[in-house]
């Protein structure tokens, strides 16, 4: 039976090698040739299966399938959003044209995202860790879901009430879009790195302050769009290969954020008065977010790469804890917004702040309670053992 399996695997290996670029095929052939050295039976079958795994990795088979599914899913979502925008809104709805214009801008932005996300630089390509890929895909999918939800509001709004996007105004739409694009371009091209490259003596903090002030103006003009663009930029930067965020922070932050979001969703599900609801949204929800972001900060700080200088190491721990907390808070807000829960939009803004504070608290705890060294581990390629 194992001989048949080995023969079958060898044949599949020979065939699958064609999926590799010509200059890589010799490596698949090498594994096939070496299989004869492995003892017949299970070891030989395992060796050949390892060869297939190598081909899958080198030919990026999993990634190709993932991207294929992703492209189909994005296409389906875009089509659905367009259909919702053009079909679901009654003809007399004063918001319809505004929504359509914004949906078209959003769709155009989505078409640019894969290019931005794969281009080498601040936003791409995506990091090698599974956490980076999962966070990037799920956050962008969640933002798409929020966009669909907002467009879907037309179905429930009063036809002539102007509670949402309002009457269509070219000047307002074009101005808002130009402002958001300008801020994004400023952040990417003329942020601290750009300023330092051109004016080495300039204070990077000043560039950040100008960016923050411009973002504040944009927020008052187009709040949701500004927050959405900020989230997209943040998630692309955090999950890029050059990102300072370690995979542990990228994994712990969103997990704790989801836990906080679930807890807040449970609290808001209780029937409460308007004033109690506001108290929950303004006080309880940020408190829950900050509290549950603390473990993420601690985990990220514990996993921060060791540095010889204790002060530098502590700074690195605080930084990773802060980033994990930010990720947790942002995840909480986005999760609640995605499931259309009441404090979602508010927490998309207050959540990262609360998460940041919680993350720093967690990092402080981690610095005061360092983890005991493991009994054995690989360090810089050397296996160390305490036994």
């Amino acid at each position: 039976m194992t001989e048949f399996l080995s023969s079958a695997l060898a044949a599949i290996l020979r065939g699958a090698a064609r999926a590799l670029p010509a200059e890589r095929r010799q490596w698949a052939e090498a594994i096939g040739a070496e299989a004869a050295s492995a003892p017949p039976g299970r070891p030989q079958a395992e060796w050949l299966a390892g060869g297939l795994w190598l081909i899958a990795k080198e030919a990026n088979v999993v990634r190709r399938i993932g991207y294929g599914i992703g492209i189909v899913a994005v296409g389906a979502v875009v089509s659905w959003v367009l259909w919702l925008s053009f079909r679901a809104a009654p003809a007399a709805d004063v918001e319809a044209t505004t929504d359509r214009a914004r949906v078209l801008v959003g769709v155009s932005a989505m078409l640019v995202l894969p290019w931005v996300g794969r281009r080498r630089g601040l936003f791409g390509p995506v990091g090698d860790s599974l956490a980076a890929r999962l966070v990037r895909i799920s956050t962008l999918a969640a933002l798409c879901a929020v966009g669909i939800w907002l467009v879907g509001l037309d179905r429930r709004s009063n036809v002539n009430s102007v509670v949402g996007s309002g009457h269509f105004n070219w000047l307002q739409e074009a101005g808002g879009l130009a402002l958001i694009c300008a801020i994004l371009m400023f952040t990417v091209l003329a942020g601290p790195r750009g300023v330092q490259a051109r004016w080495p003596q300039a204070d990077p903090a000043m560039a950040w302050m100008i960016t923050a002030m411009a973002a504040m103006v944009a927020f008052f003009v187009a709040p949701f769009q500004t927050v959405a663009v900020g989230y997209v930029a943040a998630v692309l930067a955090a999950t890029a290969r050059r990102s300072p965020v370690i995979p542990a922070a990228l994994a712990a932050g969103p997990l704790c954020g989801l836990a906080a979001g679930s807890a807040i969703f449970g609290i808001t599900a209780i029937n409460m008065s308007e004033s109690t609801g506001m108290f929950v949204a303004l006080i309880v929800a940020p408190l829950v977010t900050g509290t549950l972001a603390a473990p993420a900060g601690a985990v990220a700080a514990w996993r921060a790469a060791a540095i010889e200088d204790p002060r530098e190491f502590r700074f690195a721990q605080d930084k990773q804890g802060m980033l994990a907390g930010l990720a947790a808070g942002a995840t909480t807000g986005l999760f609640l917004m995605t499931i259309a829960s009441f404090p979602g939009m508010l927490l998309m803004i207050t959540g990262p702040v609360a998460g940041l504070l919680g993350g720093v608290t967690g990092a402080t705890f981690a610095a005061r309670h360092p983890r005991a060294p493991r009994s054995g581990s690989f360090q810089a390629g050397v296996y160390t053992s305490s036994s």
Partner: protein, 115 residues
Amino acid sequence: MPARIRFSAQTFAVLAALAGQPAAWRHGYDLARETGLRPGTLYSILIRLSDQQLVGARWTDGEPRRHQYQLTPSGRAVAAAASADSARRAAQTAGRHSAPLRRIATPRPAAGEGS
């Protein structure tokens, strides 16, 4: 001076195995047995090292044909530097966590070779 001297534990194990017999051309199966790495991991590392021209590869002439590997001169220099760097770091780690004293063994024993 090579630009990069720090590698993953697995890559370091492959470099160490090749550096152990610098004049010999080694087969993939031998390297897998010595390092305890699975072929998917081992060949992935060999591909990267070959791309960086740290490892040379060739096919044997006879039958059955086999693919063989040897460190290039720059690969030997990098392996030596990585070994020195890891020893220095291990000493520092042992200094930071002085009790209990750490025993440093490299590379990790291959699976199935007893403890």
